[in-house]
Symmetry: C2
Subunit: 341 residues, 2 copies
DNA sequence: TTGAAAGCGCTAACAT
DNA sequence: ATGTTAGCGCTTTCAA
């Protein structure tokens, strides 16, 4: 199990091109970088050899050499690639990065803090130009340190406390409020909330909105009706079971994210319960297939693609001008009315 | 919009550690790499400074220097991150990579060949140890060249023609056959097929299975009932519309992948049609929320996580032993019976 | 046990 | 217009 790397598959370097073209490596480099100070004839000659040899510049060498110029590499650190919300965010980032000639290193830490730390370290030592990250919590020391060090960073979905950083987030409290408000207006009385990981700021903000909406409608707050999970499908399944097993089960459930919603739906369907007659449900996060769910899901839509896009734009602007004042973009959510409540 | 990189956020290098510890950089390097030939006292002294300075080795320099040793970096090139199937595959790869101390560069080309080429180039010039890729088609020249060059590669989901390469795929023909066979047995007569991108081998293999199943049941082949899309949600929507608008619409639809299934469902629901009474549907690719769809979806399940896991294992084995004979792993699919047909 | 130095592929400053 | 060279941070002989 050694590094038996007689493997060394051949790489064409500047040197080879230079030799074959009968010029210096500097000239080849100039041709590659479209430096105008090259004699047209020389340029042609060199370009020919480049083609022949299929020369491709080595990004690693470039990055090392240019430690303080642009490497055109961005890092993306997201909590859960299985959550379609983050996939959508990633798509937004990707499109902007592609347009601006940035390559991306995408790291998924699956809500695992240890993994997150590892990836953060790796990214840092890859000499990236900047990164977009959804920190585990708002006191994520590793990310805070990176910001303080001066690495261009934009936070998405979740902010950071005690440090000035660009962020693109969503009106979680309002979104949750509108959801629970809608439930209450529709006459539901025992409204439950299944939360994602409570250390995630958005989870708490959504809980806040939930509480405020109950209060606004004079509905009592029953601690039994609030359940804390880990933001994943399985916890949606399990916590929904707990809720339904309650002596006085809820008549409606507000689920804290995508995956939890899907988990809760699974439980409800397994029990043969009817939505919304037996239990109503409203989810945070819309999915493009919400209409095909049983029944079509009413949900709070976050503009995920937009979040990613804006974040990437912010990041690139910051990279180009590290001194610009930080901005905090707060996007609106939208209540998608369908028939699950 | 220049590279105004006075940005240069500080990086601690071997040099600094060496200086502060009063040893040579070679010694620090030895300590970092747990080389036993260091005096215990020296080791301690150096380790202390490393901690103090929070020194982190620069992966870029390491890769450049060790062009022919291991870089512990793998590339993953997938066609569509919005397809939950690939996300699942990616998760499998990720877990294995993590266990084996490999970092991952993930590239999503969104079924865009130009993007795929770009990413392939980037990966190559990042001096990765190897990569896992789902090529656009089986004559993907770029990937073939890379294989020929000797870069360790494992193909997933789709193979390559004319070159010896490790691959992990699925029994597409069989899977499709079982789906359509099930439809026919259930009495459906006009069975349509919505295909993904026809240049993708799996699309054609699934069509093959479809045709064989029709033949096996003595059902006529109606070219009108075969539609070719681009493997994405939108084409599922559109092609399903076309199908339903036919003078003699199908009584059942076999959808070529995940996203197409979701698109077709959307169309059917928008038209207020009942599944399976008005049209039945069976999908290639299962989703963990299939049970929560309306109605619970009958589908051909691919062991996606397993595919990724096996592929990553193959790749690491190949990296460790480039001379090992190539293998072609063909995993089985499973028909998940629910109530959409 | 430790250090000096070469060199990975590249860019940019400087020299010609 | 072109070439020479230093150096990015690291590992690895080779010498001491």
């Amino acid at each position: 199990m050694k590094n038996s790397n007689e493997n060394v598959y051949k790489i064409v370097s500047l040197n080879e091109v230079a030799e074959k073209a009968g010029v210096s490596i500097a000239t080849v480099s100039r041709v590659m970088n479209e430096n105008p100070k090259v004699h047209p004839e020389t340029r042609l000659k060199v370009q020919k050899v480049i083609k022949e040899l299929k020369y491709q510049p080595n990004r690693v060498a470039k990055r090392l050499r240019n430690r303080n110029a642009s490497s055109n590499l961005l890092g993306v650190v997201i909590p859960d690639i299985q959550n379609p919300f983050y996939v959508e965010v990633f798509r937004g980032i990707e499109d902007v990065a592609y347009e601006n000639q940035y390559a991306l290193i995408m790291c998924n830490f699956s809500q695992d803090e240890k993994k997150e730390k590892l990836y953060l370290d790796i990214l840092q030592s890859e000499s990236i130009d900047g990164m977009i990250v959804a920190p585990t919590d708002e006191r994520d020391q590793k990310v805070i340190d990176l910001v303080k060090k001066g690495l261009p960073i934009v936070c998405v979905d979740r902010g950071l406390i005690g440090v000035d950083v660009d962020e693109v987030v969503v009106e979680n409290r309002n979104g949750a409020f509108s959801a629970v408000d809608h439930l209450a207006r529709s006459g539901y009385q025992r409204i439950a909330y299944i939360s994602g990981l409570p250390q995630i700021p958005s989870s708490r903000q959504r809980e806040q909105g939930y509480r405020e909406a109950l209060a606004a409608h004079g509905l009592p707050l029953d601690q039994d009706l609030i359940r804390y999970g880990d933001s994943r499908h399985e916890s949606g399944v399990k916590l929904c079971e707990e809720l339904l097993d309650l002596p006085k089960p809820p008549d409606a459930i507000f689920t804290g994210n995508n995956l939890i919603t899907l988990g809760a739906l699974e439980t409800i369907h397994k029990r043969g319960l009817h939505i919304p007659r037996d239990v109503a449900i409203i989810g945070f996060d819309d999915m493009y297939w919400s209409i095909s769910l049983n029944p079509p899901l009413t949900a709070v839509r976050q503009p995920a693609y937009e979040i990613g896009k804006r974040a990437a734009e912010q990041l690139i602007m910051r990279i180009n001008d590290p001194t610009r004042p930080t901005v905090s973009m707060i996007l609106k959510t939208e209540l998608m009315l369908r028939s699950s409540c």
